[in-house]
Structures are given as C-alpha cells and as structure tokens.
C-alpha cells in the first residue's frame, strides 16, 4: 500500500510542520517550517516536545476515530517520560514529515486494532529516551552524574543535594543532547505503571461536548469550494455522457467535472448547492456486464463453493473427511453472512489543493501514509511534493483505510489549480460506494462418535476475499490468509481455542464484483458465528451443556478458557436465569486478544426479541485504559448487533440497493442491553481492543435465541426471521 512512498529517496529537509492540536483541530498555519516550530517548542525527540511552561506535546501518528488510541498512546509515552499528565497535549505528525525523517514515526495505520499493540514498544522507548535526555540535561547543568537524578511528574531532582528543576527549564538543552543508544533504554516493570492500566479520562472529550471538535467535513480554507459527486451505481461501470449545460447555470455552480472514468462531480460555492446540482444532473452510464449481477446470483455463486473440489487449506490436522465418513453420526449445517456497510456517521470526505508543483490533502483517514501514496498517485507529483494532514474522523471502522475519496478529491482539485476543493459524499453516495464487509457462506460438517464426542470437523468457507480487492499480490495459490481469522492452529493473532482429533478448514474463493475490505472485526465476525453457533449445535446434538461441551475441547487453551469461564461465572451460568430469560455463549481469539460473551435474551410469544444483558470478558494481555476498553467493548456490541439484527447490503442489477439509514437500520439506544465487561489482562502480550469483542456478540445472542425458541438462525440478518412460537 505505502510501499511506493517508502522507497522514495527524500532529499528535501524543509518539510512543513503541522500546527495541529487536538484542542483546536483545524490546521490553518501549516506553512510553518519544522525548524521554526522547534525553536519555540524544543523537540526532545520525534515523540516528545516540551514547552517552557512544562506542557508536553506527545506526537501521535495513529489516527483517532473514537477508539481511544490517541489517549492510550499518550499514556504510554507519558508513563516512561515521567511527566505531569495534567499538562499533556497531543498532535499528529504528517506522513510527509515522517518520510523526510526516515519514517521516524513508523506506521500511521489505525486498522486491525493495531494502534497500541503494534507501537507499544517504540512509543514507550520514545518516552523513556526523552526522559533520559531531560535528566541528562539537568545533570549536565548541575555538573552531577545523571544516575544521581530522578524524574517524576515533570520534575527532576538531584537526590544527594535535593536540587530540583522542571522539564520545561531543561528542554532546550535536552533537545541538543544525543539520544541514548536504544539498547540502553530500560522500560518500566508493568507493576510500576501509574498511567498504563488505569481508568484515565480521554484527552479529546471536552470539545466533542461543545460542537468544537473539527472533523474532516468541517475543514475550511480561504477561497475553498465544495464538491459533490455521483459515481457509477454499478461497480465497474463508466460514464458515457452527461448534460453539464443543464446545471452549469445554477446559482453557485462553478464547474461540472468528470472524475476518472466512473464519476461526475459538481464544484460550487457551497456543498448544498453542489449536492443538489449533481443530483439534478442527467448522466448516461455504461453499466457493463456487472449490471446482470443480483443478490440471488451472488448467493448461487457462493453456494457453488461449498462443495467445490478446489479450496485453499487454512487449518488442517489428521484426516477430517475420513473421520467424518466413518463417524457414528454426522451433523451438517450451512450458514451465511451478508455484505455490510461501514456507515460511519461522518460521510467520506477530503479536501485537496493542487498546483503543478505541490498537492496537499486534508482528510479524515485511518492511514495517513497510504493517503499520501494515493495523493501522489492521483496528483501526478512525487510524494516529496505532496503532503497529507490527518483530520479527526467521525468514525472509521475500516472504511477510512481506503483512499478512493481522496483520489477523487485530488482529481477534482487538479482541474482547478490552486483552489482548495472539499469533496463530501452524500450519505447515499457513501452507502452505495463502500468497500463492504465481504459476503461468505459456510458449510460445517462434524462426525460424532457413539458417546457424542467430535471425531472430525470440516469447515468449508465459500466466498469473498478481502485481499483480492485490497492487496491481490498477497494471495498465493488461491489462499487469502485473512479468511481464516480466529481459526488458526496456534499463533498469537487468532488461535482456534478448540482441539479436534481431525480438522479441516478450507476456503473456496468466490469474488463477486462488489468491492470488499476490512470492516470492524473483519472475518472474525462471521468465522466466530459459524464456529460458535455450530459448536452450540453439536453440544445440543450430543445432549451436552454448551459450556461443559466447550470446556472439554479447550483443555489445552487456558487463556481462551479463562475468559469463557469468567463470563459464565459472572453471568451465573450454573444458576437458572430469570424466568423467560435464556442464555447463550461464545468465545474466540482475534487481533491478539482472548474474548468471550454470555448473552441473556427473551423472546415474547409473538416473536419480539429483547437482549437484556451481555457479560463480556477480554484478555488483551496488557490493558492500557480500562474504562476505554469497557467503552470499546460496549461499542463493539452495538456495531456487531446492528449487523446481526438488521445489517444487510443487497445487490440488484449490479448496484447496491440500500441508500440510507431508512433501508439500512442500525441499533438504537432503546435496544441496547446492559453490558458488564470483565477486563482481565494476564500480562506478557499486547492484544487489540477495538475489534475482538464484536465477534462474540452475535453468536452469543444467536445461541441464546436458540435456547429460548429452539430456532437455529443460520443466515443473517435476524430481521428476516420470525421468532414467533410455532
């Protein structure tokens, strides 16, 4: 993705400093050379700037979209820096600056629940190195060995003499000291953490309560114009012709522009005028062959993969088909999972300004480096002549890891050199032009012996590969490894928590024309539904308690078992539920964390489902901010249950049918169950938090619905099923 820019030889040093601050949000004074910024606010190292008044600015490369990474990363730097938390602020460096400094901020990507787990080591070392430099500067000033000095709360004390100074006072001198050798940096023992693992308030809350947080859609530049766009409703289709003359004279309209081969945009003085004009525009499309595709044809295409001979093997042990063939009993079930839209509440948008020797983009992006690469490509300029300023995201959920809307903004800006253009998609454009959660079906076949033990399990997944859309070069021999999330035999990312004597998990890739990409939870969502609901089916088929049945398969997976036991215990699995209430369980591992849930539901005589309570547990190894982990768990349940209850993008004549929240409903407050979250960090590893728990919400609820009604829901969303008593 960002490879092309990583290999770029960057010679120019005068990169622009972002004057962004999370407090102000807007980046207006962006033409500040880095050296000037340093002069007024000494940069100790790439991660830490200390101002004379002891204010600490922590540089955060990863995007903040609500997941709390900004606060979490600041906690980690501040932990090692030993600074005064009350004076910590943050700012985003730009990918252009990072390139100019040999990629000093490393990865900007905030997808895959990786913000904290993949940068914990180097950001903590960044904080520690800055502390060592500040202490050294104080020691030098006093003419004493640094080893005689300690730092706490932004104050450095020379122990023998009791002399004290503050970070702000020595910052300028510290900035001139050579950074310590990385091997000499010793990070704190977790038992001495005072910020990590606590229930810290977020750093970015207050502005959001005042309407003062600026998001991408709020960004403004002098003389900026706004653009609205319509892209071909059928993916792969193109623009044949359009009647620009009919709308060019509407008030405020400045330009009607074809964007690439597939879209037409209107540029106007306000977005409302641009939007109404583009909607009034008559466009003749060349839909192409994809216009024949329907939901039914996609379903048939995937169905063919369930029994196809050719399939890529993900996990294999023993000979599952042979074991199933000779089993005393065979249990088989077919599940399916639909396309889903990310539907972040802030629609896609980006602002671009293009001239023949510079292109700048301001965008809410989950990966500013990838946005820089997209900007360079669309602008026709080398990456050194481009810059990206990441703005705050009104939700991301994986959608803003793609840069299609950035490419469009640059393409439009290119037609009006020097004029900043803010492109905003309408909700309708957003919902019909996503990179959707992929569609899959799954056939599970198990052999049971006479005692009801599983002798073999075959899980055949058929359907869409995300990597086929976003990184086809990674696919080798028809295998997309991401398809098998949570189903791996071993490893630290998403290990299957069950041992079966014989197991085969394989994937028959079937890629419809609808683009697919990462959607919060990714393939762990449906894989956990498939596995956890089928395990529930097998428990019932062999007349065993679903918890006891799971435990017998999990003996060699103590961390998986620990979270499952925790939810069972807190939910009171061994005691009867309140009258009319039924329970369901699910567990999985994904994004490096172990998670489980126990859902309690009731279903009325006439089929109304109520989800009363979900007890959740997560073991992310190290937990950085417990109250934010709780918020992520609750939020992930809303996202996952919105999908399970209502979520479905369907295709008709090659185009997406759903256009807005009237036909793509999501969960609302009145449907929200009580959520009790157990955060149980066992230490020794760093797992993700934003995504893993999403995967256990739906199967726990589906298993509880079975307990309540005897109805086994195998294809989603639930809205298509009657839960009425027969």
């Amino acid at each position: 993705m960002s490879k092309s820019i990583l290999n770029t030889d960057v010679s120019r040093r005068a990169f622009m400093a972002s004057a962004s601050s999370t407090a102000g949000g807007l980046i207006l004074s962006f033409h500040v050379p880095f050296t000037q910024a340093q002069a007024s606010s000494p940069e100790i190292n790439a991660w830490v700037v200390v101002k004379p008044d002891d204010t600490v600015v922590v540089r955060i490369a990863r995007a903040e979209m609500g997941q709390g990474t900004l606060t979490g990363l600041a906690q980690m730097v501040a932990e090692e820096l030993e600074c005064n938390w009350a004076k910590v602020t943050t700012e985003h460096p730009t990918p252009g600056q990072s390139l100019a400094r040999k990629r000093v901020w490393r990865n900007f990507n905030a997808t895959g629940s990786r913000g904290i787990r993949e940068s914990n080591d180097y950001v903590r070392k960044g904080g520690a190195a800055a502390r060592m430099m500040l202490v050294q500067a104080a020691a030098d000033a006093w003419g004493v060995p640094a080893a005689e000095c300690v730092a706490a709360n932004s104050v450095i004390t020379h122990k023998p003499s009791g002399r004290k100074t503050s970070y702000g006072k020595v910052a300028e001198a510290a900035a001139k000291i050579s950074p310590p050798d990385e091997a000499s940096i010793v990070l704190k023992d977790p038992k001495n953490w005072r910020l990590i693992g606590k229930r810290m308030a977020r750093l970015d809350t207050v502005n959001k309560t005042m309407g003062a947080q600026n998001y991408g859609v709020d960004f403004k530049l002098p003389d900026m114009l706004c653009a609205a766009i319509r892209d071909c409703p059928v993916f792969g289709g193109t623009v044949k012709s359009f009647n620009a003359a009919a709308i060019e004279r509407r008030p405020g309209v400045k330009k009607v522009v074809q964007v690439g081969n597939t879209g037409v945009a209107v540029v106007a003085d306000t977005w409302w005028r641009a939007k109404t004009a583009v909607e009034a525009l008559s466009i003749d499309w060349e839909f192409g062959a994809n216009a024949q595709v329907s939901n039914e044809s996609i379903r048939e295409m995937l169905k063919g993969g369930l029994d196809a001979k050719e399939a890529a093997i993900g996990s294999s042990k023993g000979d599952a088909p042979a074991a199933i063939a000779v089993a005393a009993r065979k249990v088989e079930a077919v599940y399916s999972y639909p396309y889903l839209s990310h539907a972040p509440l802030e629609p896609m948008n980006a602002t671009a300004r293009w001239t023949s020797d510079r292109c700048e983009v301001w965008a809410p992006t989950q990966n500013a480096e990838a946005t820089l690469a997209a900007t360079a490509e669309a602008s026709g300029l080398p990456a050194q002549k481009c810059e990206v300023y990441q703005l705050y995201l009104g939700g991301g959920f994986g959608r803003r890891a793609r840069n299609d809307f950035v490419t469009q903004a640059v393409q439009i800006a290119k037609t009006m050199p020097g004029t900043p253009i803010k492109l905003i998609w309408s909700r309708e454009e957003d919902m019909t032009h996503g990179f959707f959660h992929p569609v899959t079906q799954c056939k599970l076949t198990a052999g049971l012996d006479a005692q009801g033990n599983i002798s073999g399990l075959h899980m055949r997944i058929s359907g869409q590969s995300i990597l086929a859309t976003v990184a086809p070069q990674v696919i080798k021999n028809g295998k997309d490894p991401v398809v098998f999330q949570g189903l791996e035999l071993g490893g630290k990312e998403g290990q299957l928590g069950y041992d079966f004597p014989n197991l085969l998990i394989d994937h028959a890739m079937r890629n419809p024309h609808v683009p697919a990409a990462f959607w919060r939870g990714v393939n762990l969502n449906q894989n956990t539904i498939y596995m956890e609901c089928f395990i529930d089916e097998l428990a019932h088929a062999s007349s065993q308690d679903p918890l006891a049945f799971r435990r017998t398969l999990m003996a060699n997976h103590p961390k998986h078992l620990a979270v499952l036991n925790a939810v069972a215990s807190k939910a009171g699995w061994d005691k009867p539920a309140p009258k009319g209430v039924f329970r369901g369980l699910a567990q999985t591992m994904g994004f490096g964390s172990h998670v489980a849930a126990c859902a309690e539901v009731s279903v009325s005589e006439d089929g109304w489902l109520k989800i009363h309570r979900i007890v959740a547990a997560t073991d992310p190894g190290h937990a950085v901010n417990i109250q934010q982990i709780e918020a992520q768990v609750e939020g992930s349940f809303v996202y996952g249950l919105s999908a399970a209850l209502y979520g479905e993008i369907t295709v008709s004549n090659g185009a997406v049918v759903q256009k807005n929240f009237d036909t793509y409903p999501v969960m609302r407050l009145h449907e929200m169950p009580k959520v009790e979250t157990i955060v149980m960090p066992s230490g020794g590893f760093w797992g993700g938090v934003g995504e893993p728990t999403i995967a256990v919400a739906a199967p726990a609820v589906l298993n509880a619905i079975f307990a309540a009604t005897g109805k086994r829901i195998r294809d989603l969303p639930l809205k298509h099923h009657s839960l009425k008593r027969a």
Partner: protein
C-alpha cells in the same frame, strides 16, 4: 438577506430559500457543531432546538423558519461547556468519535427540560439518534447523572481525570 435568530443573535445570510437549516448553519453561519449524517432525519446528528423543540435541521427548509423563532445549536448551549449536560458528558467520557454527540446532547437537553427526572422508558422514547460507535449506555448513564444533580459516582465508571478528580 434572510434573517434567523440563532443562539440569541439575529443573523443575516444569503441562501437559496429551500436550503435546509442544517446547511445554512454549517455553510452560511459557520456553526459546524451541528452535523450532517443522513439528510433524511433518521440519524439525529443535526438536532437543534427551535423554540425549545428538538428539530432535525436537515429536513427543515430555512424559509419555513421566521426570525422570531429562537434557534439554539450546540454552540449556543454554553460558552465553555458548562451546561450540566455537557459537564456530565465530559465527566463520563461519553463520546467516542463524537460526531453524533452534538445531536445527542441537544436531544437530551430537550428531554430533561420536559422531564427533569426521566425514566428509562422516557429516555428510550426521546433519544432516537444514531451513534455508530455505540455510546448508548454511557449516554443513558449521563442523563441519569444530570437528573441526579450531577452526582457522577452513581454511574460507577471511576474515571480518573487529569485534574486528579475521579468521576
């Protein structure tokens, strides 16, 4: 020039008469705290008050509002976030991405004005806005904190603030 009374001030602007109030607020009056989410009054992120009534401004043509009607947006609740609902929101760290929260707060302020001590059913009925991050349970908790006069401990979140306080 058209006129509107917004946040206690008479504001003059030029816009096409059928422009939704949302876009006049955002593009003509530079009040961007009110957000666009759906444009069809389904998500509530554009909620403002018109004479105290919570209104989804994306579906309200600006020429249907007289200069006598008093419009209050999120920016008009307080100058510094001191409204009790804003304070409860901050103390419980309600927002995640925050994009829906202006609308959530405006809907809540209207609810609490009508029902200072709302039941769960009242909250369910009044707060119909969409939050994609899933902050619903903290929203409910924050509404109850305001109803209880700002007592945050009952929410049981034990959040440690930078000033040393715990809520």
């Amino acid at each position: 020039m058209a006129k509107l009374n917004v946040n206690g001030q008479t504001r003059e602007f030029e816009a096409d008469p059928d422009t939704p109030l949302l876009w006049v607020l955002r593009e003509q009056l530079d009040l961007t705290g009110t957000k666009y989410g759906c444009g069809i009054a389904k998500c509530g992120s554009c909620t403002v008050h018109i004479d105290g009534i919570p209104t989804r401004s994306c579906q309200r043509p600006v020429n249907s509002i007289s200069a006598k009607e008093k419009i209050v947006t999120i920016e008009g609740l307080s100058k510094n976030g001191s409204h009790p609902v804003q304070k409860a929101w901050a103390k419980l760290d309600v927002p995640q991405c925050g994009y829906c929260q202006s609308g959530m707060i405006m809907a809540t302020v209207a609810l609490l004005k009508a029902k200072p001590n709302p039941s769960d059913a009242d909250i369910d009925a009044a707060i119909t806005n969409i939050c994609r991050c899933g902050t619903y349970n903290r929203i409910r908790a924050a509404i109850k904190v305001v109803a209880a006069g700002g007592k945050t401990k009952t929410a049981g979140l034990a959040i440690q603030h930078a000033d040393g306080s715990t809520t």
